[in-house]
């Protein structure tokens, strides 16, 4: 059981003009499952490798509980990492691969064999001891890599893109396995992903990074309901935004006035005269129920997605999406006018940038 604390963590690679990770502050509680999410090159893997001790820290601290571990070598940190491409040692069979960490710790042979067996049972690959990595499928390789990491009884488990190399049907299995192992071992687990869906499905909390900087650190739900910026909202599939000025409990915009719920938005923004940007989830918008908080617009595009329908409209120069159940919102053609309501309690406000 280990808390991880990153304090003002910075990483500048040799010869690079810009920092890969800038002033990162992050607290990961013991036993928590945290996702480092972001597009490629945002510094998430660099952060993971700094936690593992594989990359030196340029400045700042990596703390495990109360201990500063900056200078502790990777083999002494009791942290394990499973790489995206598994990195099974090709000339060793499965048994030797899984037992590698224990051999390095000079554990007696019989004990290693016993623990390898237990691990293979855990990852549901019993009887695979003598196979070579080249004889395994991608999903099997990943499970062996996981077993190889867990056998050393680490305090912290790091996973680099654990699901992105797998086929869709294997992803569900692997996700279940990671969750089960996480629960059973109570390991502090950090994983890196570029896929927001993967992060939402697995993580207790998500740390979203852009360009080496932490954008928001919160439970998955908040990224949908309370994104801190419109870039974060867009990363989570929400481009619907509208600029306006606060006046009482209303926001005055170019396309009409909208009532909002002051108790759910940031209090600093709900002040008269503040220039704000409304952010509304595509699935929160419904067909007109009343005059209040509604707007009538031309439908630019209708996209039928099977289980739901997507309308594309333009509001004050911004492209919006509206998503809903076909039973509830269907019936409009491209070019038709339609009336939509934005519920007051679904309006989230951010600073106008």
């Amino acid at each position: 059981m280990t808390n991880i604390t990153l304090k003002q963590l910075c990483k500048v690679y040799d010869g690079a003009s810009e920092a890969a990770v800038k002033d990162l502050n992050l607290e990961i509680k013991s036993g928590e499952l945290v996702a480092l999410l972001g597009p490629s090159g945002c510094g998430k893997t660099t952060t993971l490798k700094m936690i593992a001790g594989l990359h030196d820290v340029t400045s700042g601290d990596v703390m495990f509980d109360e201990n500063r571990v900056n200078t502790i070598r990777p083999e002494k940190r009791e942290v394990v990492m499973v790489y995206q491409n598994y990195l099974l040692f090709p000339y060793m069979n499965v048994e030797d691969n899984i037992g590698f960490g224990l051999r390095m710790r000079k554990i007696p042979k019989e004990q290693i064999a016993q623990r390898v067996k237990e691990m293979l049972k855990l990852v549901q690959l019993e009887g695979f001891e003598k196979r070579k990595p080249a004889q395994l499928s991608g999903g099997q390789k990943q499970r062996i890599a996981l077993a190889r990491a867990l056998i050393v009884r680490p305090k912290i488990l790091l996973l680099d893109e654990p699901l992105s190399n797998l086929d869709a049907h294997l992803r569900d299995d692997m996700r279940e396995m990671i969750l089960t192992i996480h629960r059973e071992f109570g390991l502090t687990t950090v994983f890196v992903t570029h896929d927001q869906e993967e992060a939402v499905l697995l993580a207790d909390r998500i740390a979203l990074m852009f360009d080496g900087e932490l954008q928001q650190y919160a439970p998955p739900k908040e990224f949908y309901e309370k994104p801190r910026t419109d870039r974060i909202a867009a990363f989570f599939g929400n481009r619907n935004r509208l600029d306006g000025v606060v006046q009482g409990d209303m926001i005055k915009t170019a396309v009409g006035d909208f009532k909002f719920n002051q108790s759910i938005v940031d209090a600093n923004l709900a002040i008269d005269g503040t220039e704000v940007r409304m952010v509304i989830r595509p699935e929160s918008i419904s067909l007109c129920k009343s005059e209040c908080n509604s707007l009538t617009v031309k439908i630019d595009k209708v996209i039928y997605m099977g289980t739901y329908i997507r309308y594309r409209i333009t509001v004050d120069g911004n492209e919006w999406d509206i998503i809903g159940d076909p039973h509830e919102i269907a019936g409009y053609q491209e070019g038709e006018l339609a009336c939509f309501t934005i519920p007051a309690e679904k309006i989230w406000l951010i600073h106008k940038t």
Partner: protein, 279 residues
Amino acid sequence: MTKLQKREPRILHRNPIRNIILLGIVVGVILPMIPQLVWSISHRWYFPEMVPTEFSMRAWEYVGNPSTKVTRAFFNSLIISSVVTIIGVVIGLPAGKALGMYKFKLKWLVELIILAPAIVPPLAATIGIQVIFIRMGVADTMTGVIIAHLIPTLPYMIVSLSGVFANYDPEFEEQARILGANKAKTFLFITLPAVFPGIVTGSMFTFLISWGQYILTILVGGGRVITLPILLFSFTGSGDNSIASALSIVFVLPAIIILFVTSKFLSGKSSGMGGFGSI
């Protein structure tokens, strides 16, 4: 799980082209050895006789006698070539890693300088550094010869190793560290097996080039460091065909042994394993 089937050892291959190539190798390597073998046991063999008229083991007795120069020369050759190979590996590993894995400014220039001895005759360089060797006191010594032999051999070692390093994924080393291996164990269990085919290939080239070196040895060794090629030349020049032939067989043997031992690393699956590139 399918069991690996044991194949019957076969000499001839199904593919006729490969059989022709095999035949070529046999003709090219083994046929020239036959007259040498005959010469080495002949006592009297004059034109126009097809076979020697008298046989004797005189040449082999001379070659096998530990009190003659041959034993000394054989061990000198063995020591020089082995030490050159070991030094070559020690220099070649970091150099090959740098060239195979890293990008840096003026890399093309470094590559060119390293490859130069393979293109420019090393003789030219050796004559130049002979003066320095004399000043350093290594002229006419084994040390001097070893240093001189490094000049033509290092390019082959470095190129072999940079090839495997180019396919090598350094994250294997990271993975080993994370699993609890310190730097030394990581090198021993991960890096070394990964680049082993490159080490074998480079060592083979190095050893054989050094083993066959005549001009550099005579120049730097000044005739005082006697190796097999030097002895061979002097016997060839003196007209004693029997001893020269026996010596040449002794001279070729290590090459053939090395070729057989290392051939599995030069072709097929195991060379593809270099740097774990195929996985």
